[in-house]
């Protein structure tokens, strides 16, 4: 009798222990990282900062009953990383990004630290971005010079020059901006176009004073193709105010 109750107790405890074990997984430990690059190059593509929320890249894994994607967060410089379990994944690029829609799958095998570059075909790219500052405090005028290159067949809609107060700069995070539409930009020569856009520092009457206590702002240029929602961006430049 005594022995049997020990057996029963051990059985119950081991059952419980087994259950506890089964419900607990180790957290994913492998890191998949990489960049969104222009197809055929190693140049990363600049995107909108909170593009992360849009799940521009999605991972799926076969072998499970439901096919719910894992959203991958992308930084404004086009780099991304995700913590995953080792295994075979399908990586897809969302068609709503500033690139030619392409839902082809990229097969990724994650084992430990894995790096993958995601090639996309942007509609236009921005390069050679420089900024010149003129005027005196506080009436600065910033003039951006940059080169647009036509990559896809979709024509350009507008280019826009943004000024931001932090180094996160895009259409949603800017204190001033100015744009040139397709007509003002003019025709591309051999698929390339160099142009300038000037933007005035916002006047103190319309913007809180703390912008003027700093001696720097940040600038960035974006280009948007016709009927495409997102801009493709340049690097962010720190602009020191004279």
């Amino acid at each position: 009798m005594k022995i049997s109750s020990y057996i029963a107790a051990v059985a119950v405890v081991s059952l419980l222990a087994a259950c506890v074990k089964k419900d607990n997984f180790d957290p994913p430990s492998s890191i998949l990282s990489g960049r969104i690059v222009q197809l055929g190059t190693t140049t990363p593509l600049g995107v909108r900062a909170n593009l992360d929320a849009q799940n521009m890249l999605e991972l799926r894994q076969r072998g499970f009953p439901l096919f719910t994607p894992i959203g991958v967060y992308v930084k404004q410089d086009g780099s991304f990383s995700a913590s995953l379990y080792d295994g075979d994944y399908k990586l897809t690029r969302a068609s709503r990004g500033p690139w030619v829609a392409n839902t082809d799958t990229i097969n990724v095998t994650v084992k430990g630290a894995t790096t993958v570059d995601v090639p996309v075909v942007p509609h236009q790219t921005v390069s050679g971005f420089t900024v010149a500052v003129s005027g005196t405090k506080p009436a600065y005028v910033f003039t951006a010079t940059f080169t647009l290159k036509q990559v896809s067949t979709v024509v350009v809609d507008q280019a826009r020059f943004f000024i931001g107060k932090t180094n996160i700069v895009d259409i949603s995070n800017a204190i001033a901006n100015a744009s040139k539409n397709a007509t003002a930009l003019g025709a591309f020569t051999n698929g390339s176009l160099t142009t300038t856009i000037a933007v005035n520092m916002p006047t103190p009457t319309s913007t809180p004073a703390f912008y003027y206590n700093k001696n720097y702002v940040y600038g960035r240029v974006g280009v948007k193709a016709k009927d495409i929602g997102e801009y493709t961006y340049s690097d962010v430049l720190k602009i020191t105010l004279p």
């Binding site: 049997s4 949603s172 901006n177 103190p204």
Partner: protein
């Protein structure tokens, strides 16, 4: 040892009982042609009282986007939430979808329930449900199904049209139940054909405003066909990439004229019937507009509304949205704070149509802008000569509401010798000069339950004393269709038919101008304030915005006009993408002629300074992965993949 065997035996026996139970439980056959309700269809549809009960529950489940949710009205530029949490404004950047995803399963559950009821109504006879009752019930159910499909198509685009009762045969293969999406145009055509088929059967309900009648069905057609017409007209021109090759999203532009003609015909049928007329009982034009929405008896304008007469079935909209200074509870207020953008959309009655409604003499909080100030003797003087509908919709400084002062004042400006300096205090505080410092109703930049914009709602707030207390349900109805909208629908369809040059539609602009002028006359504008010569699409769009504000139109209107991504472009420097506030201050400068006068500052509402950023993928809701897991034939919406 013997005893151990005994335990084994007992344990084994108990296992057997378990397995037996399980087997019976899993093998039970569901009665697939009955609803999940415990009362079978054969009882319901042979007993008129029960049948009416089931019918009213279908009415209660119809989609509505307003009293149910606190933040639904803050999605556009018409309002900002100042409620109990800042989270109500997180959709300002819209992300992937805005608050209307994941209704797929709910909507198809309702559609299936209606299909089941229709099946039962046609197969079960007898009892005290007469054939004439059956005919009416069938018409009402088919109407409600069309209404659900309309709500569905404006969110998701084309969806599978299921009109028969789908029954699973338990074969393990559900593919025969999985239908692909119909095109967006087919869903609108379905709504049109359903209304045409049942409108005459709804005549027995013509005296009712809460059960759907013939004119309510026509009002659905008037609105749905207008939506279809404008999607056909604008999608190809303004957002060509928002479409699917199979037509599940996007309507060919060639269909625009047909849809507008159908809409116009339905509007004309309502207008020419003589059954409804505009509400014009109160000589005070502002109060008249408020009464138009809130008065239930003798209201000739409301065609169909959701009423809340059953005790306990009401809503708590007043609790969430009452102006802070007159709230009756010790909590809540301001969940929907109307924006200055909307206030400025109301035009001045003494200026030509289409002129700017921008308020005069406002600063922006900086010293330099103080030169722009106009010193107003009374708080409400800044709103003088505005469209009377402003008063009827929005509670602004200097007016009364529910018989009490709104007491809206952000603070005071005192003179320091060279410039005015602002100061603010606690709600309801008094300055040392004996006058008001900060009003009981704020506004304050970022405090829960105080307006962050300087305005409160007047429309939709229940005028009954005590109605804003916690737990007191409001019985103010939710107006689904009213004649004012019919005028606007008729005007827009006539205008667009003229623009598109459809044969036999010349003079459409004259008609459109007549309809709009009629509505504006009620709001205090002179007769014929809009003419065929000066009518434009922006005037039409603005008229619709101000006449129908907070009645769940603005979001759908900017979607179907395909202007949402242009006006909400995500840029902090685009005025239409930002929600502005108007903070009023008293001048405290004893001995000076400007003492106790009022000035106003205008700036982006500090509670949420994110610019609204409407992306092309926001035109249609995302289709949830679970929907595709259940039915792989469902195609995803544009930009979803």
């Amino acid at each position: 040892m013997k005893s151990i065997y005994k335990y084994y035996l007992i344990f084994g026996a108990s296992l057997l009982t378990l397995s037996a139970c399980k087997k019976n439980f899993l093998d039970r056959q569901p009665n697939v042609t009955q609803s999940s309700a415990p009362i079978p269809g054969s009882k319901i549809w042979t007993d008129k009282a029960l049948a009416l009960g089931v019918l009213s529950s279908f009415y209660a489940q119809l989609p509505s986007h307003s009293f149910g949710g606190k933040s639904g009205m803050n999605v556009t530029d018409d309002a900002l939430s100042g409620g109990s949490s800042t989270g109500d404004n997180t959709f300002a950047t819209y992300s992937n979808q805005i608050g209307f995803d994941n209704q797929w399963n709910q909507y198809y559950t309702r559609i299936r329930n209606i299909n089941l009821a229709l099946f039962n109504l046609t197969t079960i006879t007898g009892g005290d449900v007469l054939p004439s009752d059956r005919k009416l019930f069938i018409a009402e159910l088919r109407y409600m199904r069309a209404e659900i499909y309309f709500d569905f198509v404006k969110q998701v685009g084309g969806v599978p049209i299921i009109t028969e009762l789908q029954v699973y045969d338990f074969s393990g293969d559900p593919t025969y139940l999985q239908k692909a999406r119909n095109t967006e145009a087919e869903v609108y055509d379905f709504i049109n054909s359903e209304v045409d088929a049942i409108a005459a059967d709804l005549i027995p309900n013509n005296a009712s405003k809460s059960r759907i009648n013939q004119y309510g069905a026509l009002a659905l057609k008037s609105r749905a066909m207008l939506y279809a017409g404008s999607i056909a007209q604008f999608n190809t021109a303004l957002t060509p990439t928002v479409s699917l090759a199979g037509g599940e999203v996007g309507i060919p532009s060639s269909k625009a004229v047909d849809y507008y003609q159908k809409s116009f015909a339905a509007s004309q049928a309502i207008l020419n019937s003589g059954v409804y007329s505009l509400y014009e009982s109160n000589p005070n034009l502002g109060e008249n507009f408020f009464d138009m929405y809130s008065k239930k008896s003798g209201n000739p304008e409301v065609i169909w509304a959701r009423d809340y007469l059953i005790p306990g079935s009401g809503h708590n909209f007043s609790y969430d949205n009452i102006a802070r200074s007159i709230r009756e509870d010790n909590l809540s207020s301001s969940a929907t704070s109307p924006s200055l953008n909307l206030v400025e959309a109301f035009e001045y009655t003494n200026r030509p149509a289409g002129s700017s409604g921008e308020l005069l003499g406002t600063g922006n909080g900086t010293v330099a802008s103080q030169a722009n100030w106009i010193f107003y003797a009374k708080q409400q003087d800044i709103f003088a000569n505005k469209d009377a509908r402003l008063y009827g919709n929005i509670a602004y400084p200097g007016e009364l509401m529910k018989g009490a002062s709104l007491d809206i004042q952000a603070g005071i400006y005192t003179w320091d010798g060279t410039k005015y300096v602002s100061s603010t205090g606690a709600l309801g505080s008094t300055h040392t000069d004996g006058g008001r410092l900060t009003g009981l109703g704020g506004p304050q930049p970022n405090v829960n339950e105080v307006s962050p914009t300087g305005f409160y709602l007047r429309k939709l707030i229940d005028p009954v004393i005590g109605s804003s207390n916690r737990g007191v349900t409001n019985t103010l109805w939710w107006v689904r269709y009213r004649l004012g909208e019919t005028y606007l629908n008729a005007a827009e369809a006539a205008f667009q038919l003229d623009v598109l040059g459809a044969p036999g539609t010349t003079g459409g602009k004259t008609k459109a101008a007549e309809y709009l002028s009629r509505l504006r006359q009620r709001a205090g504008f002179p007769a014929n304030s809009i003419t065929a010569a000066n009518i434009t699409l922006p005037i039409l769009q603005n008229e619709r915005r101000v006449e129908l504000c907070f009645e769940d139109h603005r979001l759908w209107d900017i979607k179907r006009w395909r202007i949402a991504h242009t006006i909400f472009n995500g840029s902090k420097t685009t005025p239409s993408a930002n929600v502005y506030a108007l903070f009023g201050y008293r001048i405290s400068r004893p001995g000076h002629p400007d003492h106790n006068k009022f000035v106003y500052d205008k700036f982006i509402a500090p509670r949420n300074t994110n610019a609204r950023n409407w992306l092309l993928q926001n035109y249609y809701a995302y289709i949830d992965q679970s929907v595709r897991d259940n039915n792989p034939k469902i195609k995803l919406n544009p930009f979803q993949q």
